[in-house]
């Protein structure tokens, strides 16, 4: 019991992090709040007037909201694209960031639920859909299935994320015996959420456009493009704005996987287009409406062609390692995929299901401003949720916020920063300067080809070189330059590095730092591989954390 109270208390201490930030952070939240409030006021008006505030009518009874819902289920399912390489294939660079993908899944599902709520005619009755207290039509209604799988997926990901963070917060990795069953369930579950959402459409013989068995595979393929594309952009933002280290290798690997998914997506789409147009039956009116328009009504035509071109362009950009490993073309590709898939499986999927309607009428649906404002409000709310989740998780993830130290013999592994950036001896000093500046750190361990620590390059080493002072290597920097050599880590590093191991107690760490007049200590394992860094600020932070736990 006391343990649970402590966990809850610590949770709130960590929660406080979301209120603390720099100016940029507050501006970003204010910016999002503006759209959330705008969306909320539009929604209150929609509640007052009814769904007549939208452009939906009996002929096209679903529109922008359900389109966004469908797209976001895909984004949520795509977390599995990180989970599989991370946990099943144990690909370390992705394993370290799978958490951020799982948090994106939580966000996307929450947005899905919001999009369903705003689409309901009677939102206060939403509990009728639940089992026991309501009258859930399970297993007959696919919508009931969707409620089960989406909420289950939300719970699974919440458990994984918060359990992992809890373990990090007490300075430990997760227990494999706890995380493994959750991961093993979450993989097929991720596939199921998008499959069920596809079945929701393709189980309806009344709508020939949806009634295609290829729909579920198509949904999955396009989800595995758009979800990871969003993550790729988010990862770049995270590593820019926080001290979380995300390796290029992880980003390029994900980009490679996206290329395959997009290839499959385009193939499946092609198969669908062929079957529809070549067979030429009366059931092809919707696809003809989508791509060419019917009876002069063609509001979706420019959109779907734009989406097709975007998807093909992005596929080509991601196919070649040259363009997918260049951040300019990579980001262009990501943007194209997100927009392309958003159109293709959003409005491009939902609306043609209703046009022409079951009695042959063509009603052209174009969302009203109100629908657009509400939609933007939900996207802003999602961005806000994700930001706050990040703000909460990052200090725990990087080890800056740690609990359970009070009354315990604190050792290096409890307080060290785990994600260590290292360089090899041949890295030029110019590059080291960049790392020091952009990562906001004060020193970098230098490792040899066996990943053994051979030295440290600190701020002062760089300063000495810049000022022309004697470096620790005992040579004047200028002496080297005339020989046409580029200064490298090997030239300026302090060697051998002063190290400690994971079990070194806090008092000893303090003493070593004081005695050697250094600012940081590299923590190594038995084989001299770097496993962490304890800097003076880590010690200050530890003392503060211990005090706050009282």
């Amino acid at each position: 019991m006391a343990a649970i109270i402590r966990i809850i208390k610590n949770f709130f201490i960590a929660l406080r992090e979301i209120t603390i930030g720099n100016k940029k952070y507050y501006c970003w939240l204010a910016f999002l709040s503006f759209f959330v409030l705008l969306g909320l006021s539009a929604y209150v008006d929609q509640l007052n007037r009814g769904l007549i505030a939208t452009a939906m009518r009996d002929q096209v009874s679903w529109g922008l909201y359900i389109s966004n819902f469908t797209f976001l289920v895909g984004v949520a399912a795509a977390a599995v694209y990180l989970v599989i390489p991370a946990y099943v294939y144990n690909f370390k660079p992705i394993k370290e960031i799978a958490l951020f993908g799982e948090m994106l899944a939580i966000t996307a599902i929450t947005m899905c639920i919001l999009f369903i709520i705003v689409d309901l005619g009677q939102p206060t009755r939403v509990w009728h859909i639940l089992p026991v207290i309501g009258a859930m039509n399970f297993p007959s209604s696919l919508l009931a299935w969707d409620v089960v799988v989406l909420n289950g997926y939300l719970i699974l990901n919440t458990l994984i994320v918060f359990y992992t963070l809890y373990r990090f917060s007490i300075g430990k990795e997760y227990k494999w015996s706890v995380i493994w069953p959750l991961i093993i369930i979450s993989i097929p579950w991720a596939v199921s959420i998008h499959t069920v959402t596809a079945f929701l459409y393709n189980g309806l013989p009344s709508r020939p456009f949806w009634n295609a068995s290829i729909l579920a595979p198509r949904f999955l393929a396009s989800a595995f493009c758009s979800g990871p594309a969003i993550m790729l952009i988010i990862f770049q933002v995270i590593r820019k704005l926080s001290d979380v280290e995300i390796e290029n290798r992880a980003i390029f690997k994900i980009a490679e996987l996206v290329a395959y998914a997009m290839g499959i997506n385009l193939f499946l789409l092609g198969a669908e287009v062929f079957k529809e147009f070549y067979s030429g039956s009366i059931h092809t009116y919707p696809i003809r409406y989508l791509y060419f328009g019917l009876h002069g009504k063609a509001s979706l035509v420019p959109w779907i062609w734009a989406a097709t071109i975007m998807n093909i362009t992005a596929f080509l950009l991601f196919l070649s390692p040259k363009t997918r490993e260049n951040f300019v073309t990579l980001n262009i590709g990501c943007a194209l995929i997100i927009m392309g898939v958003y159109i293709e499986k959003g409005m491009g999927l939902v609306v043609p299901g209703f046009v022409p309607d079951t009695l042959g009428e063509i009603y052209e649906y174009t969302p009203t401003m109100q629908e657009i404002v509400i939609t933007m409000g939900i996207w802003a709310a999602g961005a806000m949720l994700y930001t706050v989740l990040l703000k909460f998780a990052v200090p725990v993830y990087t080890g800056k916020l740690r609990f359970g130290l009070r009354g315990k013999r604190v050792v290096a592994s409890d307080i060290m920063t785990r994600k260590v950036i290292t360089v090899t001896p041949d890295v030029p000093v110019d590059d080291i300067e960049k790392i020091l500046i952009y990562k906001n750190i004060s020193g970098i361990p230098v490792v040899d080809k066996d990943n053994k620590v051979v030295g440290v390059v600190s701020e002062s080493d760089v300063i000495f070189r810049e000022m022309g002072e004697i470096s620790h290597a005992g040579q004047k920097a200028e002496d080297l330059i005339p020989h046409g050599l580029t200064l490298t880590a090997a030239d300026v590093m302090t060697s051998p590095a002063i190290t400690a191991n994971e079990h070194t107690p806090l008092e000893d760490l303090n003493r070593i730092i004081a005695d050697n007049k250094i600012k940081r200590l590299v923590i190594v394992d038995g084989e001299k591989h770097p496993v962490g860094i304890v800097s003076r600020i880590d010690i200050v932070r530890t003392l503060k954390n211990i005090k706050e736990e009282q």
Binding site: R125, A135, L204, I282, D357, L359, G360, E361
Partner: protein, 308 residues
């Protein structure tokens, strides 16, 4: 008291009631403050129609009648006649007679208390050009508006809820708010429907209508003889549809559309009675049902009594 209180079932959610609902969800402590609020919560917590016993249904109906009386300033009877054992309703439509006059459409609106603004119709009459393919319905015209019907060179096909034996809408509904009664009529509980409109996506006949706005109908236009599962006044944000005039047919009368048809194109009766008119039509005419390939098994039969 603004417009909110008129409709106590929680359909006219304004900011205040919305916040109240939110407060209930968040705190679970919101208590009804006055009588109207008590009724609001009664409506909010009303059980699924098929899970209520007779006493509970009676109480709900009393509350609804009071609500409707407040709103329309006249007594409105909400009936709850059960299906008659040994009855399975069926409908016949003689396409060779139909002249496309739409009298059925308006008789239906008069009988079933649909919203007049925005207009809600349960029957759609489609017009087809003779000699062109028509069964895909894409060539139909719903908004034809001639000086006079029938127009030479055209024929007409009214479509309404086909009361399928295997209704896709019932299967789709996530809350069991719509179901097939023992006499074959597919009904909706307007107090249980959450307005997700999945049934509308599932219906192959475009038979289901949604109340996109607050239904408007002047008090003098209200038909006071209603049925809980049929033509009682509806709310904003729920789905409705043809019920074969359940309030009439369960009391031994014809649906309003059958009575209104000036050419006798509409037939109605008990499919289980070998002497009924509908059985005669099925056994003696060449009947077909709409979109038979979907296996929905409609109890709505189209036929041609004579060739024109």
């Amino acid at each position: 008291m603004k417009g909110v209180r008129r409709n106590i079932a929680g359909i006219n959610i304004d900011r205040r009631t919305f916040l109240k609902g939110a407060a209930l969800g968040l705190a679970g402590t919101a208590l009804p403050l006055d009588k109207a609020d008590a009724s609001f919560w009664e409506a909010f917590f009303q059980k699924h129609f098929r899970e209520m016993n007779d006493a509970e249904i009676k109480k709900v109906i009393e509350r609804l009648e009071k609500e409707y009386e407040q709103k329309y300033k006249k007594a409105i009877k909400v009936g709850n006649e059960k299906a008659i054992p040994g009855v399975l309703f069926g409908y016949g439509l003689d396409l060779s007679r139909c002249i496309g006059c739409r009298r059925c459409v308006y008789a239906c609106v008069k009988e079933n208390n649909q919203s007049l603004d925005p207009q809600v119709h349960w029957i759609t009459v489609l017009r087809f050009k003779k000699g062109e393919k028509w069964i895909d319905l894409e060539n139909s015209e719903k908004y034809y508006n001639p000086q006079q019907v029938p127009e030479p060179g055209y024929f007409y096909m009214p479509v309404q809820c086909q009361q399928c034996e295997n209704p896709p809408c019932v299967r789709a509904c996530p809350t069991q708010a719509t179901w097939k009664e023992p006499d074959g009529i597919v009904v909706i509980d307007y107090n249980w429907c959450i307005g997700c409109r999945y049934c509308m996506a599932a219906c192959p006949y475009g038979a289901r209508r949604f109340n996109w706005a607050e239904p408007k109908r002047p008090s003098e236009e209200i038909n006071p003889n209603t049925h809980y599962l049929g033509n009682r006044p509806r709310y904003r944000g729920v789905v409705e549809k043809c019920t074969f005039c359940i309030q009439r047919t369960r009391n031994g009368r014809y649906p309003a559309c059958v009575e209104a048809c000036p050419v006798g194109a509409r037939k109605f009766g008990n499919l289980l009675d070998p002497d009924s008119e509908i059985r005669y039509a099925i056994e003696h005419k060449r009947v077909f049902r709409l979109k038979e390939d979907l296996n929905t098994n409609p109890k709505f039969y189209y036929f041609f009594a004579y060739g024109v």
